[in-house]
């Protein structure tokens, strides 16, 4: 039996909850939440690929593109509206993704992972070498207007998180719809047996191409949002460790559901923040140990907790 799908109402509920948090929790927390949500969009892209059996170690490529689109839009081209920039960032990702996707769609497994990594590292070194792009130090991004509302009119510390949540939850809803579509399942099928997929008249390459671009769009939008949230972009956005972290969060959350990346993202930021706080010089170890324990006891990611919970409830409900 398929469970009744309550994802959309849950998304709306979460959006309201998160928005409320902006007003009712301490500033540092709502900031952390905003960062986590924006970054979890990138993770959502990683998950989208992972469901199709593709691990991208180079989502930093798009993340960085999004960030720099935001940066350049305001600093060089005078486009300062976050709404417009998010759309621009998405378009940027489509263009970039379509170009490199043509090469990438021939690869699977570790080769896909390494090539995506190579691409992001190439972007990284291009930026580092290029003073016109800000070099390795990057540059600052001024606060945007949000759908026409200037930062003077409404405190960006309120408007930016709300905007981020709105964009993110909209994309989450779309992604959920996608996961339930023919493409979503074709992705699962791609992971498991490409020969059969080919014999079901679907081109695996076209599918990979499409998914790569979609994941890129998510990452790019996440990058643009992060650029505004942190007010700064630098090539570190494209560095492989950044991408690695996204994969890490994806696995932390799990790939079973669209909300998993969100759970992973928030938990990760909180854990890291506390690890930094409690063990300033050993936070990596704390993080590593937590990660290890999670993998050993929760191999399906955080999301499996909710599955277990629901299962228990169902067992209880049954006579």
């Amino acid at each position: 039996m398929r469970r009744k799908d309550r994802t959309y109402p849950i998304l709306v509920g979460l959006f309201l909850l998160f928005s409320g948090a902006v007003f009712f929790t301490p500033r540092w927390f709502s900031f952390l939440l905003t960062v986590a949500v924006a970054r979890s969009l990138v993770v959502l892209g990683v998950v989208l690929l992972m469901r199709a059996g593709l691990v991208s170690f180079g989502q930093g490529f798009f993340y960085c593109i999004g960030g720099y689109v935001a940066g350049f839009s305001s600093n060089a081209f005078g486009v300062t509206d976050a709404g417009a920039v998010v759309i621009l960032a998405a378009l940027g990702a489509v263009v970039a993704g379509a170009i490199v996707g043509l090469l990438l769609c021939n690869y699977r497994d570790i080769f896909f992972a390494m090539l995506t990594l190579a691409l992001s590292m190439i972007l990284y070194s291009v930026i580092v070498k290029n003073p016109a792009l800000g070099g390795s130090d990057g540059f600052n991004v001024p606060p945007p207007t949000i759908l026409g509302i200037s930062p003077e009119a409404v405190d960006p510390r309120v408007s930016l998180p709300l905007f981020t949540f709105a964009v993110a939850f909209l994309l989450y809803a779309l992604a959920h719809r996608y996961f339930l579509s023919g493409f979503g399942y074709a992705g699962l099928a791609l992971r498991m047996n490409e020969i059969r997929l080919e014999y079901l008249s679907l081109s695996a390459r076209a599918l990979v191409f499409l998914k790569y671009i979609l994941a890129g769009v998510l990452a790019s939008v996440g990058g643009a949002l992060i650029a505004y949230i942190s007010g700064h972009v630098d090539p570190e956005l494209a560095y492989w460790t950044t991408s690695g972290e996204f994969v890490f969060i994806a696995l932390l959350g799990g790939t079973g559901h669209v909300l998993a990346p969100l759970a992973g993202g928030v938990v990760f930021e909180v854990i890291r923040s506390y690890a930094f706080d409690l063990a300033p010089s050993l936070w990596q170890m704390v993080l590593g140990v937590i990660l290890l324990l999670m993998i050993i006891f929760m191999p399906e990611g955080l999301w499996s907790l909710t599955e277990r919970f629901l299962e228990r409830k169902r067992d209880e409900a049954a006579p």
Binding site: N106, Y107, L115, M285, L291, L292, I296, P299
Partner: protein, 298 residues
């Protein structure tokens, strides 16, 4: 006309280092399908061990010629120990799980090891320069080269030959290939898979540590040296074709030589070279130079 020859020599030295550093990675991946992110940390463990041992050795005033043996052995020993702990203590629990998940486990190990190293050795630099300088230098084409570096080429060649022989010409090598392909049926055929896994991981770790040890004398051993090594080792291994020792050798040569050429002729492009080469090789041969044979599925 001497520049091309200098490039060749520089490239060979660099390739040798690349090979020693990546061989363990490809071995572990090839056999266990584990992309060991902690490889770099094991490299760092080797480097630190070597540096400490060398420091102690020279401070005690023993015979310098024996120092090489001593610090190689100690570093490899440290690698074996670390490998054993990681494999028996952690990896064993996650065997059979998804490849990506195991990758994450090694990432966690990397995070932990980085701090363990910091706890043991602190953050200050360690030096082990005596063995590097002690061998003197040779002028080739008027350019002095450190004899130590030149010996590295021999060491790499030796390691490569040994590994190749072990994998392709011995029964243990055949067992490894059986296990690589089908763990379960190998067990049913009487192969002790657990032992083979442990052995592989330990050898791979020892190789990583050895890589660190041979590098230590020409470096200042500082936190983070391991992290830098991982990406480049991955690039080499993927270029050559995962799990193939010959491929790794070729990958090292290709990347090492091009990189040396770039430094001499086009210094600004040096960083890009590794990835461009990798992308170019993969564009032509999607599974690396020596692609693994695929089983017939239909």
């Amino acid at each position: 006309m001497r520049e091309p020859l200098v490039i060749l020599l520089d490239g060979l030295v660099y390739s040798s280092w690349l090979f020693i550093v990546s061989a363990g990675l490809t071995l572990i991946y090839g056999v266990m399908r584990i992309l060991n992110m902690a490889h770099g940390s094991l490299y760092a463990v080797g480097a630190y061990t070597a540096a400490s041992v060398v420091g102690w050795y020279f401070a005690s005033g023993y015979d310098p010629t024996l120092s090489y043996l001593v610090f190689f052995t100690c570093a490899a020993g440290a690698g074996v120990l670390a490998g054993l702990i990681i494999e028996r203590g952690i990896l064993r629990v996650v065997y059979g799980r998804d490849e990506v998940l195991v990758l994450l486990v090694t990432y966690a190990v990397l995070l932990i090891l980085e701090d363990v190293i910091k706890l043991i050795w602190g953050v200050d630099a360690y030096f082990a320069y005596q063995p590097y300088a002690a061998l003197g230098r040779t002028k080739i084409l008027g350019i002095p080269f450190a004899n130590y570096d030149l010996l590295l080429i021999l060491l790499a060649a030796g390691t490569g030959a040994l590994l190749w022989f072990g994998l392709n010409r011995t029964r243990q090598g055949k067992f490894l290939r059986a296990v690589i392909h089908d763990r379960e049926v190998s067990e049913a055929m009487g192969i002790n898979v657990t032992r083979l896994y442990t052995a592989t991981f330990v050898i791979g770790s020892a190789l990583a540590a050895l890589g660190g040890a041979v590098t230590a004398p020409s470096l200042s051993v500082v936190p983070g040296i391991g992290v830098e090594v991982i990406v480049i080792a991955f690039a080499v291994v993927v270029t050559g074709g995962l799990g193939s020792i010959g491929g790794t050798l070729l990958g090292s040569l290709l990347i090492g030589l091009t990189r040396a050429a770039a430094v001499h002729l086009f210094p600004r492009g040096e960083v890009l070279v590794i990835f461009v080469i990798m992308a170019a090789v993969l564009a032509v041969r999607p599974e690396g130079i020596f692609a693994r044979v695929k089983a017939r599925k239909i």
